[in-house]
Subunit: 584 residues, 2 copies
């Protein structure tokens, strides 16, 4: 129907007759003329109706906001004084010659010129998506997936679909279950990731696989989580960790160059241990220059138990965070606020020292010998005007508390630069301790570095995994690893994780079986597409880069899902809804 999009019109088309389709974004009546801003997915265009064209003008007079119209007219240069530099078509306007009203609109139930609650935006999502910001976000997202696919296609990656109806594992917490009708009383699970299927595809010889694929996790939602999310999922055979990192880094670099004209350069690599030591995080935001400094060795022998205790504990840590030049700005009130804040992460207090013109100021000075304080000042290179914050606790609590404080202070006092700062975090521990056992830091299929199955069994916590996370501005955008491709190693990993032989057989029997028949060495990575797009467009919520997201209670306000199921359907599935739940 149309000859152009609004955003395609500019001064070069002056005097040409064009036809457009779109919506009335705004109407103004001015000096006897009717002006409308016509909107389509590409942008806005000013259209003028002249009262001399009587029939047309009468028709135009019926136009209201959000009417859907087809318009023909002549492109005309605006007088210099009326040029709108903010609009792509701001140098021109359309002198209308024909108007067809394709569809009328009632007054909108929400007014986007006012503040609109997110609930209202989600309920009327189709209206919310008409807003330029949202429309641009989703158009950008389509460009991202298109660019990613083109890159991977040219690199010989094959787009292969894996099932959505997969095996429910007995303990599969966070699995979405799908009751089976043909196998009453049994359930499928929606995949949390295609991990095992992509490994099986490597065993099948496909070599380079990718998929942009929905994954599902039924967990309590945080602000930036969705029950269904999208992964750029990649797996390769015969490639080392370095090679997988290289190809995915190239992909990311190309993406930023193509779509944002940003040159990311080569990504630095940092070990997990260094990241935790310097930034208290396994996904450090390198735009923030603040760093943690370890001081446990300096306070080992002080009488101040708060410091000496963790300093002498093999699992403890004592560290300082220096905030340069902000001693005067950080009041007692702010310190109290920070103390409360680090409490969220388990820190029992927040010691501090200010370096003032007239000497040190701190409630803990009295507990520390002067030489120790001097050594701390020397090591942290604290200058007049700086303030030091201290945390002394288990290494985990110290990292989390000071890592979080580092981000908060960095944001609050403008330390965060306006750049793109990617990096790879590597050399993760294979396992982390939790109450009563060991858990995989990545997942149970991650290969260890340089050990035999026997050596892994002997020293699981001392073994590093061949895993790598891509971090961008403090966000983990991708994570992956070399996978175990030997049955004995896989069995060792299961054993260490407390997955007995029977359980392993029950849950992963097909994988252990498959490992018998010439499994190639393989490695892969998965990007969180939603998060990546959110970062790239600078959205504040993951919901702003998803067309039809769920709320934080996993509901769709637009379609009112989930809903009540038909009893006959439940009967066919062989399941009952419990009365108690029903009543609620």
């Amino acid at each position: 129907m149309r000859s152009h999009y609004c955003g395609q019109l500019n001064a070069s088309l002056s005097e040409q007759t064009v036809t457009l389709c779109g919506w009335v974004n705004r109407r103004r009546d001015l000096g006897g003329l009717i002006f409308i801003d016509l909107r389509d997915r590409s942008g806005l265009l000013q259209v003028v109706f002249d009262p001399d064209q009587k029939a047309l003008f009468e028709q135009a007079n019926k136009l209201r906001q959000e009417f859907c119209v087809k318009l023909t007219g002549k492109v005309s240069l605006r007088p210099e004084s009326q040029i709108n530099r903010k609009m792509a078509s701001g140098e021109i306007e359309l002198l209308a010659t024909e108007l067809t009203i394709l569809s009328r609109s009632e007054a909108l139930p929400i007014d986007f010129n006012q503040h609109v609650s997110e609930e209202a935006r989600l309920r009327y999502r189709y209206l919310d998506l008409r807003r330029t910001e949202m429309s641009d976000n989703l158009q950008f997202r389509a460009k991202v997936t298109s660019s990613v696919r083109r890159f991977l296609d040219t690199q010989g990656f094959l787009d292969i679909e894996t099932p959505m109806l997969t095996r429910a594992t007995p303990e599969g917490a966070r699995d979405y279950l799908v009751p089976s009708r043909t196998h009453q009383g049994q359930f499928f699970a929606l995949p949390q990731s295609p991990q095992l299927f992509k490994q099986l595809l490597m065993m099948s010889g496909f070599d380079r696989y990718y998929q942009i694929v929905k994954c599902f996790r039924d967990e309590d939602l945080r602000a930036d989580r969705q029950p269904e999310f999208t992964q750029i999922d990649i797996e390769t055979s015969f490639m080392t960790a370095e090679q997988v990192m290289q190809v995915t880094e190239n992909m990311t670099r190309q993406l930023f160059s193509e779509l944002l004209s940003v040159e990311l350069g080569e990504f630095p690599q940092m070990t997990w241990h260094e990241a935790m030591r310097r930034f208290g995080s396994d996904k450090p935001d390198l735009r923030n220059p603040l760093e943690l400094v370890d001081v446990a060795d300096l306070v080992k022998d002080v009488e101040f138990k708060v410091f000496a205790g963790p300093a002498n504990d093999s699992k403890g840590r004592v560290a300082a965070l220096k905030v340069p030049g902000k001693a005067a700005d950080i009041s007692r009130k702010i310190i109290d606020e920070y103390t409360k804040f680090v409490g969220i992460y388990g820190a029992k207090g927040l010691a501090w020292i200010k370096v003032n013109e007239d000497g040190l100021q701190s409630p803990i000075l009295k507990f520390l010998p002067e030489p120790v304080v001097e050594q701390i000042i020397a090591r942290t290179e604290a200058q007049v005007g700086d303030i030091l914050f201290f945390a002394a606790d288990s290494a985990t609590v110290v990292a989390e508390a000071l890592g979080a404080l580092r981000l908060k202070v960095g944001e609050a006092f403008g330390f965060v630069s306006n750049e793109w700062k990617p990096l790879w975090v590597v050399d993760f521990p294979m396992f982390e301790e939790f109450e009563g056992g060991l858990a995989a830091l990545h997942h149970p299929f991650t290969a260890p570095v340089g050990v035999t199955p026997e050596q892994l069994r002997e020293n699981p916590t001392g073994t590093l995994s061949n895993a790598y996370d891509m971090v961008l501005n403090g966000v983990e955008v991708g994570g992956g690893s070399v996978r175990i491709h030997e049955r004995e190693m896989q069995q060792a990993a299961f054993d260490i994780l407390g997955i007995g032989e029977a359980e392993a057989q029950e849950k992963f029997g097909f994988l252990l079986e498959a490992l018998k028949y010439g499994t190639p060495p393989h490695a892969g990575l998965a990007f969180g597409l939603d998060r990546l797009v959110m970062l790239m467009v600078g959205a504040s919520s993951i919901r702003d880069v998803i067309a039809f997201p769920k709320t934080t209670t996993a509901a769709c306000l637009l379609t009112d899902a989930p809903g009540v199921a038909n009893p006959a359907a439940l009967d066919e599935l062989g399941i009952n809804v419990k009365a108690k739940a029903k009543a609620e």
Copy 2:
């Protein structure tokens, strides 16, 4: 790790040193040498180990079928007599200089040189997918999606994801349900198609949408159905039916040209009524030249009730299928078989007339006046050697019975040409009658042609819909329509379908609401990707173009899904498995 794929090696690389990774497809020991066929996803390569290289030869002697190896060697021309024209690399072989065994294989549990049951193939899918045929199928499928995406991207279509966890509708038969944990006792449904979401995207102004997306249908599976299947889903605003057909026809033409070097040419269009009349099918296979010929008008007045009854019934039909030149080949036994066959479609018998050298032969001649028989022979242009089959019943039964017989006979007697025969079927009726009411021939959102809501209400069965199906070689590969974009028309369609106002509000309230706010005219189409790929590669089953398909009872034999769910998880979901079902 590799420098080349097996399939990339040819005589032009003679004397070069290359490195490959792959699997031992076969080993032969011959004349003191060891030969292996190395296999990777691109094909096979013959590798020779020379006993003079002792250490290497010893290593090679360990090789067994399906060992995964890395091999370096020199490309060497084969002697003329040993050239294998069936292999891409058949002119050369590799003289091995280095061998690394990356992974060993036990003896395979199945021998693909023997007949392997489909059950075994599905259970050991990762081995089945190593076979060239299956590997090629999935690689071809990846090329199809890549080509489709490239085409649609360049045409300005936006890839936008729609939700997988959608609204369960009260009567949603065939929905896969997903119990919600945060809303106990309530359920999501997996989408049977993104129909309503893509319409909402048009209301949002995205204009041209596509998605290659999983859809779900929990129905009794036939041979070529899968519980999860993939659609190329397309929707546009401001385009007519003709324009949507043009762009998707172009897409299909490019696909065939690019991937099969087949030029499909312009697709003919045929009305639904013509297709039913001439071929007894809404998806006629035009490679088959046999056609139905209507003769009701000729037999209206005969005493033979079997013919005269349907001929005088407004919903009846009497038609003939002529099989040229096969009177002698079609024995009484075959006719009996065909009679049984058309019985499946409800035909109560199968009358026939053979035109022999010595006159007509038929059990029904005695019931028909000679002039009538002559007229039938004239109209069907039956020649000596031809046989005519007759069906007389309701129009539906006649079309289905003779339509199916046409295909069966066409196949059996080699009438089907070896071509690609696409067409568009258009001008469908809006509704079809079923017991107790009217059902939508496409779906309730399909727009009628050229009527007001009042006219539609007055004459629903006489109204045509603005729908179109793309048919290729008798397979419906795509189907679509212009959608209703006016609330009154949508309400009329719901009313005719017996969906009352309350029910419409309950189920489609959000759609009816959305229709109020300037909905653009829109139209779309969905291709069945699995079926399309199956056609293009000539696979005999849809399961042969899906990496990890389900069985006909919707089970995954590889991972043993569906499975038993954890009682604690069911408790969290607020559902019970019924004891009876459990026991079974």
